[in-house]
């Protein structure tokens, strides 16, 4: 079962994890990304490409399901304005055993960072700046080719 959501609402972590556990798999792995407050960041704004974003995330979830034989995949990405300490992304996988669940979870967050059309803008007081893409993210995504 695949669940993909791109929403301005806060991510309900315990509900998302519980839904994966209900898939009846032996192993559930999760990744949660949290907005960092370092460097004086006071808020983060997330823009995305409606329609394409959801399609890309579904494609990634389907690819992971096929590659690792998953019983469940959940990808939830928050968009809009959020503040340090808030959850920005949740990826969860349910599989028969830990190795499949953990590898698929790492694959999904690595590929999401380079393949899904999201853009971050950091707010520092009154000043705002778009975040630049990092070469290390491309390298992390490339290891799954």
């Amino acid at each position: 079962m695949i669940r993909v959501s791109v929403d301005t609402a806060p991510i309900a972590l315990s509900q998302e994890v519980a839904a994966l556990e209900e898939r009846g798999a032996g192993a559930v792995a999760t990744f949660t990304g949290v907005v960092r407050g370092e460097g004086g960041v006071t808020a983060l704004e997330l823009e995305h490409y409606p329609g394409m974003t959801e399609a890309v995330l579904c494609d990634l979830a389907e690819a992971a399901t096929e590659r690792w034989g998953l019983l469940g995949v959940t990808i939830v990405h928050r968009v809009g304005r959020m503040t340090p300490g808030e959850r920005i992304v949740f990826v969860g996988t349910a599989a028969g055993h830990r190795r499949e669940a953990l590898d698929a979870c790492a694959y999904l967050i690595d590929r999401l960072k380079t393949d899904a059309p999201f853009w971050k803008r950091e707010q520092r007081g009154d000043a705002a700046a778009w975040v630049e893409a990092r070469e290390s993210d491309s390298a992390a995504a490339g290891r799954w080719d």
Binding site: A55, K113, P117, W119, W130, A133
Partner: protein, 83 residues
């Protein structure tokens, strides 16, 4: 065709979308970017360094030398930074 702009490309151009009918000589995404740069000072500012831009045709990522063909929707944006 419908054009969509995101992040600082959208901000510099000043609009998030527009409809254009490029001339036949505009064959690929790079041609389109070059042609669009002449539409306004905002377009020129946003599109002056094509190497910093990425694109999608009909919601699929493409390289800038991709042919436009019968594209209905072309999006131009900076490298993605989600997650």
């Amino acid at each position: 065709m419908d054009l969509l702009y995101f992040a600082w490309v959208r901000e510099r151009i000043g609009i998030g979308h527009e409809h254009v009918d490029p001339p036949e000589a505009v064959r690929n995404v790079a041609d389109l970017i070059c042609w669009l740069a002449g539409r306004s000072s905002g377009h020129a500012e946003a599109l002056r360094e094509p190497g910093k831009l990425r694109a999608a045709i009909d919601q699929k990522f493409v390289p800038l030398d991709a042919l436009l063909g019968n594209a209905k929707e072309v999006a131009i944006f900076p490298p993605v930074t989600g997650g």
